[in-house]
């Protein structure tokens, strides 16, 4: 009897551990910093220099507007209450006043003065943000908007020419910067579009700038705090505009270097039989026409780059978490998770899906 119970218990313990192990390999491992998720992108909790500059100006403006609101509402309430027609009204008309030059002058001049103050504050901050000088060590990224995902290139200037060293999609990893000018390392982001107008908005890091086809815009961020920052595309760009989500992952300089090395490392060849089958299926089917995997014949650029895809937090530009279950649903029929997206149902059989997903999980 005791033996039976011990056996059952052992079984349960082993089972639980196996399950836990399966759980761990079910989704990519996250670095420590990125586990802190700043999901509520409150612009009044800025965690980066440009967002802070905006925040400071916003407080000034809010204060001025609040004062105006209180005064004018007070005036309105006062006249409504004080000059109501009394119940015992004698029917006489009140004095017919047509205007007053002095009063009208006063309430023209005061708004003009307020406008001048606001204009000054606005102009100064515009300049501070738009014309900021980037230091030599700034990280350089180029983002290209697509319907409905973000293409991300990391590049360096070599003899004045940009040379890309990492291509990824939908997630941007950056090293944390610092308020200490010696340790400062902002990130400069070029913004372009491959199709329609999009907009890059991560409120706690910076204001938004649009991605316009046939035009290159730019913005910069200077985050003080690590973590995963949430953002959205902020210019209506078609069916799945709502699911063109953005994550900026601010890491410690060490974690960032690790991530860089990981992204640039060559892919290990598939090991298990299932992975090998999956690899074969991937290259047999037309996946290679749209997707790119570094160091392989898969060179399609229509869809997101799949290099190191199993290191990302989400799939489908944020529409689902990156884990085995969702990746299988996506590969089987992306229209289930993101109807209208430009990846079609590839009409795969279930076992083919499992194999391909097993292969994709090796891309880390």
């Amino acid at each position: 009897m005791h033996c039976l119970m011990a056996l059952v218990l052992a079984f349960l313990i082993v089972g639980a551990n196996l399950a836990a192990a399966a759980e761990v390999s079910d989704a990519p491992a996250l670095s420590e910093s990125e586990k802190v998720q700043h999901r509520v992108a409150d612009m009044f909790q800025p965690l980066s220099k440009p967002a802070e500059m905006i925040h400071d100006v916003s407080l000034v403006v809010l204060f001025v507007c609040a004062v105006i609101f209180v005064i004018v509402t007070g005036m309105l309430a006062y006249v409504v209450i004080k000059f109501r027609k009394p119940g015992d009204d004698d029917g006489q008309e009140p004095p017919q006043i047509y205007g007053s030059r002095n009063i009208e002058l006063a309430w023209t001049v005061i708004p003009i003065l307020i406008t001048i103050v606001l204009a000054f504050v606005t102009t100064r901050t515009i300049g501070e943000i738009q014309n900021a000088e980037m230091p030599e060590n700034a990280l350089k990224i180029r983002v290209v908007g697509h319907q409905w995902w973000w293409e991300v290139h990391y590049y360096e200037e070599v003899d004045g020419q940009p040379v890309t060293y990492i291509v990824t999609a939908n997630e941007i990893h950056v090293p944390v910067s610092s308020k200490d000018p010696d340790k400062r390392r902002p990130t400069h982001i070029l913004l372009q579009s491959a199709d329609v107008v999009h907009s890059f908005w991560v409120p706690q890091l910076a204001g938004k700038i649009d991605l316009v086809p046939n035009r290159t815009n730019d913005l910069w961020i200077d985050p003080y705090v690590t973590g995963t920052f949430f953002g959205n595309c902020a210019e209506y760009c078609g069916t799945q505009h709502a699911n063109m989500l953005l994550r900026v992952i601010v890491q410690t300089p060490e974690e960032f270097e690790e991530w860089k090395q990981e992204q640039m490392a060559p892919n290990l060849p598939p090991q298990t039989a299932q992975e090998i089958r999956g690899h074969q299926l991937y290259f047999d089917y037309s996946c290679v026409n749209c997707h790119k995997i570094e160091g392989s014949p898969s060179k399609g650029i229509f869809g997101p780059d799949l290099n190191k895809v199993w290191t990302r937090q989400t799939l489908g530009a944020g529409v689902a978490p990156m884990d085995e279950k969702h990746l299988k649903i996506w590969v089987k029929d992306p229209q289930v998770l993101k109807v209208g997206c430009l990846m079609p149902d590839m009409q795969l059989l279930d076992n083919e899906v499992d194999d391909i997903v097993a292969y994709l999980k090796t891309l880390k």
Partner: protein, 200 residues
């Protein structure tokens, strides 16, 4: 308190003519329409990714412009004749105006045939093609509308229907015609003078 001021209804109550104000409004709104096409034209100068380029294919439209500007003069002569009740002269100058306008349309059409078939410039060739045909075409369509209006007046005149009450109607048609001419001045400047510089 405003200063006390005695006012009284004026003895003579004269308001502007409805037709004149209406035509001024029409001219204003049409000018706003044309100005956007002009802005687009100017904006896209120098932004073609491929030829043909304006300075390669455009030639200053001497004869067409002469005809159109001449027609503004002839329509004025016609009006003057009308006020003097010299109907023979009126019909002559009015018809001459229409002929000059029609010649302008012919001239533009010939230019377009040349550009499309011999220079390979169509509305889809490049931004120059799009903006050129849109602007010149918008103007030409207004010339055609003007010709129709001129024609209506002419036929009305032939049927003996133009009485002194209608002189203002005729004047408004001539105002429209002058407006179309004024737009042509702008088009000449933008398309055939500024736009043919070699950098475009």
């Amino acid at each position: 308190m405003s200063s006390a001021e005695l006012t009284s209804a004026p003895a003579e109550w004269k308001l502007p003519s409805q037709r004149k104000v209406g035509m001024i409004c029409l001219i204003t709104t049409e000018s706003a329409l044309f100005s956007i096409f002009v802005v687009a034209y100017l904006f896209y100068l120098g932004k073609n990714l491929n030829g043909p380029y304006p300075h390669e294919v455009l030639h200053f439209p001497w004869w067409g412009s002469a005809a159109l500007f001449g027609s503004s003069a002839t329509v004025m002569f016609a009006e003057k004749a009308m006020h003097l009740r010299k109907w023979g002269h009126f019909f002559f100058w009015w018809a001459f105006t229409m002929a000059l306008g029609a010649y302008f349309i012919y001239f533009t059409a010939a230019e377009w045939v040349h550009l499309i078939y011999h220079e390979d410039l169509t509305v889809q060739t490049n931004v120059f093609g799009s903006t050129f045909y849109a602007l010149v075409g918008l103007h030409a369509s207004h010339v055609i509308i003007g010709l129709v209006l001129l024609g209506i007046v002419f036929i009305a005149g032939l049927r003996g229907k133009i009485h002194p009450d209608h002189f203002e109607h005729v004047e408004m048609v001539s105002w429209y015609w002058h407006f179309v001419d004024a737009i042509w001045v702008v088009v000449l400047l933008v398309v055939y003078i500024i736009g043919v510089q070699t950098w475009s």
